[in-house]
Amino acid sequence: MIAIIDYDAGNIKSLQFALNKLKIESVLTKDPETIKNASSIILPGVGAFKDAIASLNELGMTEVIRKEVINGKPILGICLGMQLFYETSYEDGEWEGIGLLKGSVNRIPDIVKVPHMGWNTIQKHQESPLFHNISEDPFVYFVHSYAIGGNYEKDTLVSSSQYGITIPAIVQKGNVTGMQFHPEKSGDVGLQLLKNYEEMIS
């Protein structure tokens, strides 16, 4: 059972529907006990960083997540959920994130249209079971104005996308995985990625 962290993070339904299609059981929850008993955690998220981290802090979720991750529980962050894993975000100010990964969240430079919206290809930086049955440089659906940068650890980069700059698309360090795009909205490729993720962690 996957615990999807419920903190009023916008459109969670698409993610639940995608997991249902894959017959992966999930529950939307903010109950620490349920999260503790879950086999893995997904941190979804759309919207503003500061509101998201404020809700997580208020619900005590930041601590719960840190503790579960230290105990080795797999966690997947999607879009803003992934950005929340980092130390600092510079979205409308400067905000402290959960701090599971080194690095910061910075605005995509205005040399391209922002938000980065639509289907872009991702390029592999290292082999991963996540790419099982996935063609070379697949298209996935992005929608974001901020991206991982700063002093993030380059060996955590599994795959990236080009949009003005190199955008970390999939990152992984131990039991922590992040996807900047929306696998739940990325057609068959996205569903396959979610399936591969689930198989990778089980």
Partner: protein, 252 residues
């Protein structure tokens, strides 16, 4: 490379798609969920649903449709029509839509864009602009299906929309809409060049060339159309193959 997007648009009235008559091989041709699935499978990059009724009881039918669509397809979709408040936006996003498209409500209350972008993130707030040419190289924002002029310059309104926090702009050229003589390149380009957010061209698609022209020459990021898709005059796989041949990056 970021792909240019192809977006079929479905007008929904009382839970049924208007103009969705010509598919012989699906049983319920006017069922928005069936059509959405079909477009999803054909390789559409995104969908837009417009609620063209928007009375209260019909609103619930529509929200039910939105949720069913979200359940069936795994590509993003936007919802427009009758969006007037933060509550309206919340209910369509909660039903499973990725984006909301705001049109006339933003004219009477521009702050709605700002509030919505702050609350839900600018990526899900689409400003839809209906524009009519009033002089050469001048377009005015119109509402009520093009019947009412607002006195607002369309390009200025687009800039204002970006500043308020819209994450994308749909440019509906009322003059070319339904004519199938091509998108309004001049208007689309004028708006695309004035802002730094993605632009969706809308109104006038009739041929394969119309799509390639607006995507290449007018700096549009996406092209929206309804009848050429609904009546199967242009199948999406054929369109994508054509655009690919024209050296336009598309998802295939």
């Amino acid at each position: 490379m970021l792909a240019k997007r192809i977006i079929p648009c479905l007008d929904v009235d009382k839970g049924r798609v208007v103009k969705g008559k010509k598919f012989k091989d699906i049983q319920d041709v006017a069922d928005p969920v069936e059509l959405a699935k079909r477009y999803n499978d054909a390789g559409a990059d995104e969908l837009v649903f417009y609620d063209i009724t928007a009375s209260n009881e019909e609103r619930d039918i529509f929200l039910d449709v939105v949720e069913k669509v979200a359940r069936e397809i795994s590509i993003p979709f936007a919802v427009g029509g009758g969006i007037r408040s933060i509550d309206d936006i919340n209910s369509v996003l909660r039903s499973g839509a990725e984006k909301v498209s705001i049109n006339s409500a933003a004219i009477s209350n521009p702050e709605l864009i700002r509030e919505a972008a702050a609350k839900f993130g600018n990526q899900c707030i689409v400003l839809s602009i209906d524009a009519k040419e009033t002089a050469s190289g001048k377009w005015e924002v119109v509402i009520n299906g093009g019947r009412k002029y607002t006195g607002i310059d369309a390009v200025e309104w687009a800039k204002k929309g970006e500043e308020l926090g819209a994450g994308e702009i749909v440019v509906n050229a009322i003059d070319t809409d339904g004519e199938k003589n091509g998108y309004n390149l001049e208007l689309t380009k004028a708006i695309a060049d004035a802002v730094n957010i993605p632009i969706v061209a809308s109104g006038g698609a009739g041929t394969l060339e119309h799509f390639s022209t607006v995507l290449k020459e007018a700096n549009a990021d996406a092209a929206l159309a309804a009848s050429v898709f609904h009546y199967e005059e242009i199948p999406i796989p054929k369109l994508k193959a054509y655009l690919d041949k024209e050296n336009i990056t598309v998802r295939r």
